[in-house]
Amino acid sequence: MSKVIGKRVTRVEDARLLTGQGKYIDDIGTPPNTGHVAILRSPYPHAKIVSIDYSEALEIPGVKGVVTGKDVHPLLNPFSVGVSAPVHYYPIAIDKVRFVGEPVAVVVAKNRYIAEDALEKIKVKYENLEPIVDIERALEKGAPILHENVGSNIANHRTFHYGDVEKAFEQADKIIKHRFHFPKYSATPVETYGIVAQYDHSSDSYTVHANFHGPFVLHSIMAGALKIPSNRLRIIIPKDIGGSYGIKAGIFPYIVLCSVVSRLVGCPVKWIEDRQEHLAASSSCTDRVTYIEAAVKNDGKILGLKMKMIDNVGAYIRAPEPACLYRNHANTTGAYDIPNLMIDAYAVMTNKLPTGLIRGYGGQETYFPLERIMQIISDELKLEPAEVIRRNLIKKEQFPYRTASGGVYDSGDYEKAFDLLLKIGKYDEFRKKQAEARKRGKLLGVGLAVIVEPSGSNMGYITIALTPEERKAGLPKSGCSEAATISMDPMGNVNVRISTTPSGQGHETVASQIVSEILGIPHDKINVVAELDTATSAWSIASGSYSSRFASLGSSAVYYAAHKVKNKLIKIAAHFLKAKEEDLTIEKGNIVSKTDPSKSISVKRVVGSAHWNPLSLPEGMEPGIYETAYYTAQAEPPDDQDLINSSVTYGFVADLVTVEIDPETGDIHILDYFTVHDAGKLLNPLIVDGQILGGLVHGLGGAMYEELVYDEKGQFLTGSFMDYLCPTAPEVPNVTIKHIETSSPLTPLGAKGLGEGNTMSAPVVIANAVNDALKPYGVTIDSLPVTPNKVWNILNQSKKQEVSS
């Protein structure tokens, strides 16, 4: 029991989840007279709403009400967002629709069936406008404009110069550049969005149950949109969330919509999103065009980088965007020692679904061009890719390493991890096998990627979207606070309340491990409550489950809260035993003296006294055992030079993937996927490997299957799982996971976040492997997903060229 942190403890959550006793949003029941919501959505990507006639819908028996943008407009403010462009985003279209799937009207009925049928009776007249979906066309003069009052489709534009980029490019032997396009894709949790919202007239307040998982800074934004004091918006998160991978942060517009609909229709309302709605109109990652230029020496050393990134945030920029552009700002140069960096960052709006968090958030978009250009550099300089990587890796003695853009990499041994990767992946052996296979007409390829995995977002990083002057006008933003509460009841049993709103990551288990080790109580006797209630929980704007922040921040809050409880128990025991506090320790349910074993008192008795006999406590001590700890790591706001340490801890991931391509069909078969991780001290290796595998499969989706496809007219074409392909169990390749552990000096347990790393690395490492296999054809994979179709076209194109030449 004393050493339980770091053990492969099985999850306390699993018993209820595996026996069908999970408590998800759809399990919590509804208040009497609850109406069920169905949402009418725009079939057009860009159109004016001329009129909406819902008189026939109201006549259907069982319909309680219909609400349109015109009805909610007077009750709402547009959502605030951290850019200066005056984009007015409401949860429902007011006078214009800007993407296919945008809510246009809401029906509330006795049940969902009636509500859905009533949607067909609503007549909307649209006047179509020219749509725009292409990222770069959206920037051109004369392109259709989504938001007339913004005047262009640019929601945010910032340029950053770090080091001496021009000098680096002058000193280079060669400048190697390329354009890359990263696709828009989704996260597809099994459980979709769900909300039960109730407006209370007497107090002018809203109570909302929703499977929202933060960041809770969005609570302020929702209250602001509803025009109410924030303590009149009570949001309660159910015990279980059926997966999210970031996308459920995007539920917030629907929370506001359902709230205001409850108010207008006069009954509680419930809405469970269906799969088509989820794919078309929940949220997604950005699609991004990146122009990357590397100034290199002939030995492969990179002197400087220029990156022009154009992120497509969809029809409306909404919080926390443009964070996708900036979440990886500190680690833009990845695992490499590159002191000179220029970034030209754009967020543009087009007639597509608005974006937000998904696992990896910005990492996959950043590392796709970076790690692809590493391979292109090695090809052009005729060097081994592994050599080019090694030449540029940050060395062990450089930690803590200050990146060009202001990041502080807390710890690492990248070379050790990379060497381990090449060894377990049998890199040199595979190269020989590949050469022999090529002689026989077989297409084998090997890809490498090394990435830095940021975790625990600094709340100050989003303000980098503003200029230093613009930032001065507001309150500086910093930190990454998280809270936990631990109490002991009169019988000495422990309850832990966490505000990290897990969606399957096993926070209850890990919290119980930490508390167990500190208080000397078996972990399965500890009750962890993960429901967050904004009216009664301890939480902060940063609370929630995103940016892999539990291992670095959530666990630290639990750690310090447990220490507060322990200190109080020891103080009481010292008083009773007439011993010195520093002489006492907790052992098997007793507090005992280290020097005099006869001095001993049970924890149960100590706790009991705090409840039953408070007058026996030391002078001035409060009764009860109930301690809350708020924790933040050192995370400074951006400075005047735009230097920003955008995350708290930085892990490392090195991937090696081998593939075989069928030249007849273009089919890509992944032979092996090796991944080496350094996430500091691991709190529960069993959960760690599960998280890594899940993140990896999501990355595999981005690499080979998943894309939210729009045609050039802005119509959305992948509205079901028949068209939007997700990897399932049979698509998962052989995966070998290895760890090294270099403790973080910043967190009390030495842990760093993880789980998003392979979502960031898999798209590019697979692209590198495919590109390596196709090397004889002289092609460059510069967009994703790499489908058999794409590969087959490449192969056939070059066959045709051979024939014609």
């Binding site: 079939p43 296919v100 088509q276 959305f716 992948t718 509205g719 079901s720 068209d723």
Partner: protein, 151 residues
């Protein structure tokens, strides 16, 4: 989506033209057509129920006939909206006489769909379009026969 095709109609060109522009005959020939009423010359309102992939539902449509060059050529402009989404289509029809009792009909069409039907039905559209057109002309030849009998 676009396409083209050709069919032989069992009637002379004048007769074929007459039936092609007869609302009652058209209503009988268009799959799932519940209603087809003229609103003015060369413009009709129609109600069509049809399922494409998993998307079944009713479209309220306007059908406009333009560019009329009797009895050889006309253009059909269809705009439909409904629960399953939106459809905009344009078709061009050319009639060429073969003999007194046979006419060749050549057609081309372009169509765009929006909303749910595009989201989940895209892959099926070409097949569905062909099906609807084949079905139309099968029924149309029956209409022609009916109209011959009634004379």
């Amino acid at each position: 989506m676009n396409g083209k095709g050709s069919v032989t109609l069992n009637a002379g060109i004048e007769k074929a033209w007459e039936v092609l522009l007869d609302p009652e005959a058209l209503k009988n020939c268009i799959m799932g057509c519940k209603k087809l009423e003229p609103v003015n010359e060369n413009k009709y309102e129609a109600e069509v129920s049809i399922g494409i992939a998993a998307v079944k539902g009713k479209y309220e449509s306007t059908i406009e006939i333009a560019d009329v060059q009797k009895p050889n050529h006309y253009k059909l402009i269809v705009k439909g909206e409904g629960g399953p989404g939106s459809v905009e289509a344009a078709g061009v029809v050319d009639l060429v006489p073969i003999d007194d009792n046979k006419t060749e009909l050549n057609y081309t069409y372009e169509a765009e769909v929006g909303g749910k039907v595009a989201m989940v039905g895209q892959r099926m559209l070409n097949g569905v379009a062909k099906l609807i057109i084949q079905d139309f002309f099968k029924k149309f030849n029956k209409e022609l026969a009916k109209s011959e009998q009634s004379i």
